[in-house]
């Protein structure tokens, strides 16, 4: 990754971090309903992977998917408007935090049944092959998803059909409230199991945007060349609890401290300094991100509520919801 690319990645990560902070604050103000699953601390995976992907590749994410939507072209304004139930939201306020989707940019959805989207990514990769394109499909998922059946069904099918799909596990160490190591018999829940399905599995520092970009670029090239799927396990840590209801009191203080010192934004700043980028240049990037999110919050707040009649649209492709004649 060149210096300009790294700086762009840094700014995108800063934008995501600030958007997540805004989502948190808006929740506390009562402006965001339901729940949120924030990805602060995990930005480098979405941003690093996106830097390695093409705009026409497909991405499938989880209920913890704000960072993927933002990394794949959704704006902070449309994301925050969605969280605040505005008609201007990404999904017209029908999706909410757990379902941020921007199909036009290949962000084909955030799915809230753990692991359910892995077979969809396999299908999108299959479709790319059937249509003769060299598009990839990427499924981002948490460590908890590696213990459901669809994970194994997906890896096997992708392997036997040799499909261009990348399985990127964001191992943030916790399956909701429980350490993943307490419920999984292997040390690397995704990477260790990949070889059993005939798929290469590797581990990367998920907080290092450069390392993620390089790893995804490498496995993407292989998949595009027709060599089949790959599993990448990106080690990371979420700054918040599982969701809004979880203060994460179960996490040992020294563990939290250790991971906070390994913050993806700090790591990227260090790499920028090594490349000779001045602190003032980084500060300008921070300022741009701050200004964008600040404007986004105000614009999202100003968005109108959805027309109640929208509740009865969009079930069918004709736009309606009629089930009888």
């Amino acid at each position: 990754m060149d210096t300009a690319g790294l700086l762009a990645c840094y700014e995108r990560m800063a934008l995501i971090r600030r958007t997540e902070k805004a989502a948190h604050d808006l929740f506390l103000q009562g402006l965001v309903k339901g729940t949120t699953h924030l990805a602060a601390g995990q930005e480098a995976i979405a941003v690093g992977a996106s830097a390695a992907l093409r705009p026409d590749d497909y991405v499938f994410a989880t209920y913890r998917g704000h960072h993927h939507a933002l990394a794949r072209g959704a704006t902070p304004e449309e994301c925050l408007a969605e969280l605040m139930s505005r008609a201007t939201g990404l999904c017209k306020a029908k999706g909410g935090s757990m379902h941020l989707t921007k199909a036009a940019t290949g962000m084909l959805g955030s799915y809230a049944i753990v692991g359910s989207h892995l077979p969809m990514a396999v299908g999108a990769a299959w479709s790319a092959r059937l249509r003769g394109t060299d598009q990839l499909a990427v499924a981002f998922f948490g460590d908890g998803a590696t213990n459901i059946g669809a994970f194994h069904e997906s890896l096997n099918l992708a392997a036997v059909w040799k499909l261009p799909v990348l399985f990127v596990c964001e191992n943030n160490q916790y399956m909701e409230y429980t350490p993943i190591a307490d419920v999984t018999a292997v040390a690397r829940p995704a990477a260790d199991r990949a070889p059993a399905h005939g798929i290469p599995g590797e581990v990367v520092d998920g907080n290092d945007v450069v390392a993620v970009e390089e790893a995804v670029a490498r496995i993407a090239e292989r998949a595009r060349a027709g060599d089949g799927p790959a599993v990448l396990e990106a080690e990371t840590y979420r700054h918040f609890g599982h969701s809004r209801a979880d203060p994460a009191a179960y996490r040992p203080a020294e563990e939290v401290e250790r991971w906070l010192k390994h913050d993806p934004l700090d790591l990227a700043r260090g790499r920028l300094a090594e490349l000779g980028v001045g602190a003032e240049v980084v500060a300008e990037a921070d300022e741009r991100a701050r200004a964008v999110v600040e404007r986004a919050v105000e614009a999202a707040k100003a968005g109108p509520p959805p027309d109640p009649r929208e509740a009865l649209t969009d079930v069918w492709a004709d736009g309606g919801a009629a089930w009888r004649t």
Binding site: T101, I113, M120, G123, S127, L157, V315
Partner: protein, 326 residues
Amino acid sequence: MADVITYREAVAEGIAREMRRDTTVVCLGEDIAAAGGVFKTTVGLLKEFGPERVWDTPISEQAIVGAAMGAAMTGMRPVAEIMFSDFLACCWDYLANEIPKVRYMTGGQVTVPLVVRTANGGGLGFGAQHSQATENWALTVPGLKIAAPATPADVVGMMAAAIRSDDPVVFFEHKALLATKGAPPPPGHVVELGRAAVVREGADVTLVALASTVPLALKAADVLSGEGIEAEVVDLRCLVPLDAATVLGSLRGTSRLVTVEENPYQGGWGATVVSIVADEGFGLLDAPVRRVAGECVPLPFADALEEQVIPTVDKVVTAVRGLAAY
């Protein structure tokens, strides 16, 4: 083409017609390619269309339907087979949570034009885990269209409509009908989803049936005719969209209603039909409504036991006699 075609041949014929006219139509499922399907409903597809359009899968129901969804979202029209409808439970997340909801929860951004085909229903002695009529499972989920043809011509025509539909369709092929025969439909035959058929006219009672219960209702109508009771038989063809207008229209002529469904009485589609009639057609009724339905038990193995719990001609005749005398 032959003078007659079986229901099972009609499945492959219906798929083949669509694969010929649209290269985005592809098939996937367990044993569907070289083996031609365990019910021989995909015979000939591999030979004509090749392995790039007819794909054998592992026994992985979640991956089959999930992959069909992903492919449908990205430009294909997949036709996925789930071998027995009982196995829909193995991939129920996709039928209940993913496929029917994604358009809505993305505010209309995503279209999922796919067909999930499956062999449905009892009568063949397959026991409790290979014999259920499960169309009601799908009926409980907003966002799925439900087709259940009763004749070879309808299989072809409704398959065309299902594959061309931009909405997801669950296509129930009834196992007890696979060997039945009928005239092959002409080229370009399409039966619009949500259009019921009045397959026998009569002035005394309306029998509303679906798939395997259509021939059952017709046989019952013949018996009743010998007793001076003329039954009109409505083949619903689809549960979603539901052609309530045709049911109400028939009822205007007969004033009496019996639904005939194979699935358990509890929560059955007949209840939905009856509730619409109670709500919108109460004034048309000259008698109570009756539902002939399966018993609320798992399907037993022995013929003598299975017959006890799913609809039969005698059960339909008995129900109608009671109404006629009301």
